[in-house]
Amino acid sequence: MTSDKKGAAIGQVDLKKAQQPGVQRGRDTKLQQLGRQTISTLYMLVRNVKMYDPDNDIFVQPFENLRTAINTIVAVDGLYQLQACGTTVYVNNKQLQLDFASLDNVRFLTEEFKARDVGGFNVARPVQLQELKDFIWIFSPRNEASVEEDGVQGKKLLNIKVGKFAKIRDQLDKMEDNAIESERKVDRKKYALTVYARTIYYMRKFIERLQSGGQLPSMSPAQRLVQDFVDIAAEQRSHFLGMTTTRSVDEYLLFHSVNTMKIAIVFGQELGLSRAQMHELGMAALFHDIGMAEIDPGILNKRRQLTKEERRRIDLFPLHTVKTLLKGRSLDMGMTKRIIASYEAKVDYSVPMKDKDGNVKLMLPKVELGVYGSVINIAATYDALTSARPFRESYGPEVALTLMISDMQYKFDPFLLRVFMKVMAIQPVKVLPPGQQVISFG
């Protein structure tokens, strides 16, 4: 297998999203909504059957609503399966997200279920009104018969299969225990890849929304992902940093954002930042260049001389990400730090003074830039230099580091750059010659 001259990845996979046929958009959300509706209607019916016969007119609309909701779920999923115990309710193996206000009602319903040894029921075909009435009859005070899978004596159920309470309770316990255990038993090394992939996916979605002018996704998933990255960086540092070599020419911004974040987190770890600080740094790094998503790629990738207007747009780069992040209209402390860091990441540390030979000799610091912005500046520059771009080849790590420490040194905080050199120098890029076992860095 070979690579092309642009340094494109071997065996490049089309990362663009493919539509899955036959799956309806928003199915999960709809299921949640309909599921909650069925619970709320069941509560109302079970409560009122204590006072009224199921044939009473007051039940006409609720039964119709319940029938419609259940049959809609059956039409989409092929069945309606309710499992309920305490405040835990599953519909078609998905736990319902219950809001606090509804918990009392849910508990009433499940207590009534439990009192009749009912844990839920299944429906595999569209259900009729009479059958629902016969099910609700189970909870009437006039019913003295015990409940079987097909209902009670004299009011047998055809399509509804009742689940016994103890069995369903055990099923729910097992489902919850399995979900918990699968979270606890994750292989952390391979999980690192999954987190990386999820972050790429998240950033892709974010950029798509940005470019289409839609509402920006929440940053909560990003918070979780960065938390995971910080944890993995602590546990699997070498593997973690090693994955920053992966990139894609076509989706440069995605991989650049994620790789910059990862480099920044490892760098931050070496600098002794606390967990909370690494998280702030990671979030800032992940979004440091998000404003680029709204810039015309023609300008970003242009090989020839830029026009005056294009140059003006380029000069405003430090503000692009600020503009983008402000679209979320939420300026809490975390976002403030992100905005400042992304802005300062594009500000040169100092003004270079060159000697007669053109060597950078003395640097005059401009302003006191923040730590996060300075770290991100270094991490992003390193990643950018080691990435192939439409207008140049990628540089090898040694060349990139050399450039950063010489011609470009005025751009970076010298103290941080020194530490960064040591961090990156520790990561080996070739096998040692035979006989040499150890390389030490002071």
């Binding site: 297998m1 690579s3 340094g7 990845a9 065996g11 490049q12 996979v13 899955q20 799956v23 928003g26 999960d28 405040t87 835990t88 997200q97 219950l98 606090f100 918990l103 508990r107 316990d173 979270e183 090394k189 890849l193 992939a197 999820r198 996916y201 979605k205 996704p217 909560s220 918070q223 540092r237 070498s238 593997h239 090693g242 994955m243 070599t245 070496e270 002794g272 503000l319 600020v322 503009k323 402000l326 679209k327 209209r329 939420s330 300026l331 809490d332 976002m335 403030t336 923040g370 090898g396 103290f415 530490v419 040591k422 520790i426 990561q427 080996p428 890029v429 096998v431 150890v438 002071g442």
Partner: protein
């Protein structure tokens, strides 16, 4: 937590649940105290101490307790250990809603960890959570609780209407791509490679080992790390001011109609952050910068227009009632640390904020802060005296006093006419204080009000106070009024204190009529028929001279004290005692 598939498992969970239940009841009691005495944060450890000790003892016996969560309970297996279905400060639901399904407490957990954990769950940090844009899981994660773990069960989604299965498919594609990259063996790739798929399966114990190399090294020294923390500490205080710089750059260089709302809203949120940190100086700087930016000669007109619109929005939002009230809350926490800053802020609000400022004033408790706000009202409310006057009948005496202060400072032409309405206020102290304000002025209009009070006011205290005000007015007016009252029939019906007040006023008048009046009283001899009345008048005169010490008064008292032929023994003794007191007062002893 033991699996409940077996009866042994069921028994063990039940036994542990029975042990744990009373311990967690102590948590409920402790948190009740936290809720009741929310501001006593230094006593939180004390409130939770019984629970902490109980939990630590439990963990010492069992080494670890794993509690499953449902929406309202902590459970061991199916056995409920702790339930919370309260609407406020719920310990369980926020965790469950965030996706936490298992809590693990380990032996060795410290009291500090337990306290921090439950206060986080309790919502004690809700405001901070919102301020930082963090959810509870992020806060728990940042808390780095070593002996308290939690397991979150949640599917990964970016947007709400995504299908979990779709997301997993897409993520798996990326994973496959990454894995393929790591398996690559091309020369180009080896230049960059730091890890390959074999490395993923290797165990690393304390060293970095890849592809046959063993590397050891030191990157940042402890000194470096300390320096970084110092830098971060300094930066914390500069975040907001840096944000101001960034926002103004954006406003001046790269704001159009398209993103104007985002920028304007950002300034407002920055305002709220600065208000929260009581940084009024920074708010003032922002206003000055707005002004400066809007005047820049080389700025395009469109930019200047946007800057001015932004400024108007900013100042408008400054005056919204919730922000004004927030300043009130700040002022109620103590004397204003930056009174000039607060003053500048309130000045900037303009006349539209007068009702909000008065509402805020009603809530203020400390006098210096009330005065600060009153000064602002007086400065901006010159044309709105009627608004202040309407509050003079308010039941809050503090507010009425404040309005009097403000109106006095504004000094409208009909000031005393407005004040006169307070002379009938139900609150006696307010009536007296307003009377004092009127009485101090000394003008003709005020004399009329004073005279009316002396003659007609139903409250004796008011009449006495009015009498004491008369020396502030020209003697020809005051003396005539005073003496007319003393010789009238109404004087006989007056209380002792009122009579004394009138005579004190006579003495303080220092007018020829009043001085002669006093001499006339002391010249009378106690006759057989009017002895009591004459002596009473002399005693009242002595009381008046004592109440208003002066040299001539002292001389008069001394003469009376020695004149046993003209005055009876009681009068002489009273005069002697009064003379001693007056002398002492005059000599300052």
């Amino acid at each position: 937590m033991v699996a409940e598939g077996t009866s042994a498992g069921v028994d063990k969970n039940k036994a542990l649940a029975d042990e744990a239940r009373p311990v967690f009841e102590r948590l409920r009691k402790g948190l009740k105290n936290v809720q009741l005495y929310r501001h006593n944060t230094e006593r939180y450890p004390e409130y939770l101490d019984p629970f902490v000790k109980g939990l630590q003892e439990l963990l010492a016996r069992h080494s670890m307790i794993s509690l499953k969560l449902d929406a309202v309970a902590y459970k061991l297996g199916q056995h409920v250990v702790f339930e919370d279905d309260g609407r406020e400060a719920n310990l369980i639901y926020p965790l469950w809603q965030a996706g936490i399904r298992l809590l693990i407490f380990k032996n060795g957990v410290t009291a500090d960890e337990i306290l921090r954990f439950f206060l986080l769950c309790f919502g004690a940090s809700e405001a901070e959570r919102k301020n930082r844009g963090e959810d509870i899981i992020t806060q728990l994660w940042k808390a780095e609780l070593e002996c308290i773990e939690y397991v979150v069960v949640e599917g990964f989604k970016v947007v709400a209407d995504e299908e979990l299965e779709d997301v997993e498919v897409e993520v798996e594609k990326v994973v496959a791509y990454l894995y393929r990259q790591l398996q690559s063996n091309s020369d180009d790739y080896l230049r960059f490679a730091r890890v390959n798929s074999e490395d993923l399966d290797m165990q690393l114990d304390g060293v970095d080992q890849m592809r046959g190399s063993v590397i050891q090294g030191v990157t940042a020294t402890p000194g470096d790390k300390a320096r970084i923390q110092q830098m971060l500490g300094r930066e914390e205080a500069r975040q907001l001011s840096k944000m101001v710089v960034v926002l103004f750059q954006l406003l001046e260089l790269d704001t159009t109609e398209e993103n104007f709302e985002d920028v304007a809203e950002a300034f407002v949120q920055l305002l709220d952050a600065l208000l929260l940190s009581e940084n009024f100086a920074a708010i003032q700087q922002i206003r000055e910068r707005f002004h400066h930016s809007g005047q820049k000669p080389n700025a395009k007109q469109a930019t200047r227009d946007l800057v001015q619109r932004c400024e108007l929005r900013f100042v408008g939002r400054m005056g919204e009632s919730q922000r004004v009230q927030a300043i009130g809350n700040t002022l109620n926490s103590g004397i204003a640390k930056d009174p000039d800053g607060v003053r500048n802020y309130l000045y900037a609000l303009g006349v539209d904020a007068i009702p909000s400022l008065i509402d805020m004033l009603e809530t203020l408790q400390l006098l210096p802060n009330r005065r600060l706000v009153c000064d602002v009202l007086a400065a901006i409310g010159g044309a709105y005296v009627e608004t202040f006057a309407q509050r003079l009948t308010h039941p809050s005496s503090n507010l009425v006093k404040d309005m009097i202060y403000v109106i006095d400072k504004v000094n409208p032409p009909n000031k005393f006419q407005i004040f006169a309405t307070v002379l009938e206020h139900p609150n006696a102290i307010l009536r007296l204080e307003t009377l004092a304000v009127i009485g101090r002025s000394g003008g003709d209009e005020c004399f009329d009000y004073i005279a009316r009070v002396i003659k007609q006011h139903p409250d004796a205290q008011m009449r006495s106070q009015a009498a004491r005000m008369l020396p502030n007015f020209p003697a020809d007016k005051g003396a005539g009024l005073l003496l007319g009252i003393i010789v009238s029939e109404a004087f006989e019906k007056a209380s002792d204190s009122e009579k004394k007040a009138l005579f004190a006023a006579v003495v303080m008048m220092h007018a020829p009529q009043t001085d002669q009046f006093l001499r006339d009283i002391f010249d009378q001899k106690s006759g057989m028929f009017a002895k009591k009345r004459v002596d009473d008048m002399k005693l009242l005169a002595i009381g008046g001279l004592e109440a208003a010490p002066s040299i001539p008064g002292l001389q008069m008292l001394a003469q009376v004290a020695q004149d046993l032929k003209r005055h009876n023994k009681d009068v002489c003794e009273a005069a002697r005692a009064a003379a001693i007191n007056v002398k002492a007062k005059l000599l300052g002893s």
